[in-house]
Assembly symmetry: none
Homo-oligomer: 134 residues x 4
Amino acid sequence: MSADTFFSINTGSTEPIYRQLIEQVRRRVASGQLSAGQEIPSVRELAQALAVHPMTISKAYSMLEAEGLLERRRGLAMRVAARHERAQPAADRIELLRPTLEHAAAEVQQLGLPSSKALALFKEILASHESGEP
Amino acid sequence: MSADTFFSINTGSTEPIYRQLIEQVRRRVASGQLSAGQEIPSVRELAQALAVHPMTISKAYSMLEAEGLLERRRGLAMRVAARHERAQPAADRIELLRPTLEHAAAEVQQLGLPSSKALALFKEILASHESGEP
Amino acid sequence: MSADTFFSINTGSTEPIYRQLIEQVRRRVASGQLSAGQEIPSVRELAQALAVHPMTISKAYSMLEAEGLLERRRGLAMRVAARHERAQPAADRIELLRPTLEHAAAEVQQLGLPSSKALALFKEILASHESGEP
Amino acid sequence: MSADTFFSINTGSTEPIYRQLIEQVRRRVASGQLSAGQEIPSVRELAQALAVHPMTISKAYSMLEAEGLLERRRGLAMRVAARHERAQPAADRIELLRPTLEHAAAEVQQLGLPSSKALALFKEILASHESGEP
DNA sequence: GTGGTCTAGACCACT
DNA sequence: GTGGTCTAGACCACC
């Protein structure tokens, strides 16, 4: 797996880097983009690709292991745990998106924007993401 | 202004509380929901309403004052600064929403969800917010 | 709570320090020696008492928080989470001891010792612990 | 000697595998279950039986050789060194058990369990080990 | 090569 | 004062 394209972090955000990684792994496992047995990038490799201290990556991986999403294998790269055999159904995955959209909707209201404008912008952004370039 | 309904914070988030408040004030001013001369809740009042340390509120207000958005008046409640006479045009305000929706779109992609489902959920959430209850 | 007498670590062991701490907290919560709402020693205090780097303590506390056993409160000492209102019944607690005694029994067998001698030694050690001095 | 039943390892433990093996050999020699001249399983055989990398087994054997417990013979299986002619007396062997039981007693105390319950459980476990099935 | 643990120490957010 | 995050870097266990 290409480490530098698969994960992305935003160092400017107040969201800690290690937690950004955790969230991304969770979502990719939920969607099946990462499936049982698949290896994730090594700590050192990802650390270099993201220009981050290896321990930061290690912390994220450790917590994902404690959570049961990843499996540690002495001396080998970590991989997605066996019990995550298949992606969650879309109906469940969409619920993982809800808090984020709730938050966005609160901003819309505070900005006093009409729902139609917000929806149009979201549609435009989704289209540009789909076509390849974020 | 009713302190407890106007601002809302999420103590579970990694986003510092004072920054959550700053962002909310900025958006309310941009939208004209808070307009020049309008008084904002006192530090103590808001601190109690949100169950937060008064210093946290004070810090947010101080930074908004440094930014020129609020005015401090000895012995009186702070108020929105005069130079923020009118709301920003909607075309500008919608740009303030863009980063949030960009982030949401990245989540959609990582979750492997179709744009249509994401849009439908956003529409549903916006409608429920508009109708009163978030 | 007196930090230096409540927790003890063995730096010689292969068991990582942070995990020794986690196990001890778990057992003390299970037994009710630590009960809901009770504060645990601060990171810095315990680090100094045990002559260990603060981050090592912090790591243990973080994992206990992720596990739901401890609660974090911004700016305040961590405390035992509310949902651990009461000690587990003795019947459950004794099961937490089983793996350790299984391991000890395997050693007894490998050493070719009669059960009676092993039991006698265990009894003697338990008595000395009870009377105060480990 | 049947490699797979004689040694057992716990890959989940933080105790390094090679050290688990060393400890087991030491105890078997102390008890006379392994006596001078007796052959131990080959590196490859044991590695396969335990699903462990051969180098891990090799490391354990090398350290036992450096310690004088095992003898290496070119082209032949390693065997227990001649100077370990006879088992240590039971009085000495029981002391090898003490640290493990000290540790168990500390757990008993932290779990707030009465000594009688702990002793009863240990007795039960010892009996089941003796009767064949651990 | 893999991950894990720990130290030393800086800086941040919050009470 | 509280905990959190991150960097820099050493050393260990294992493949």
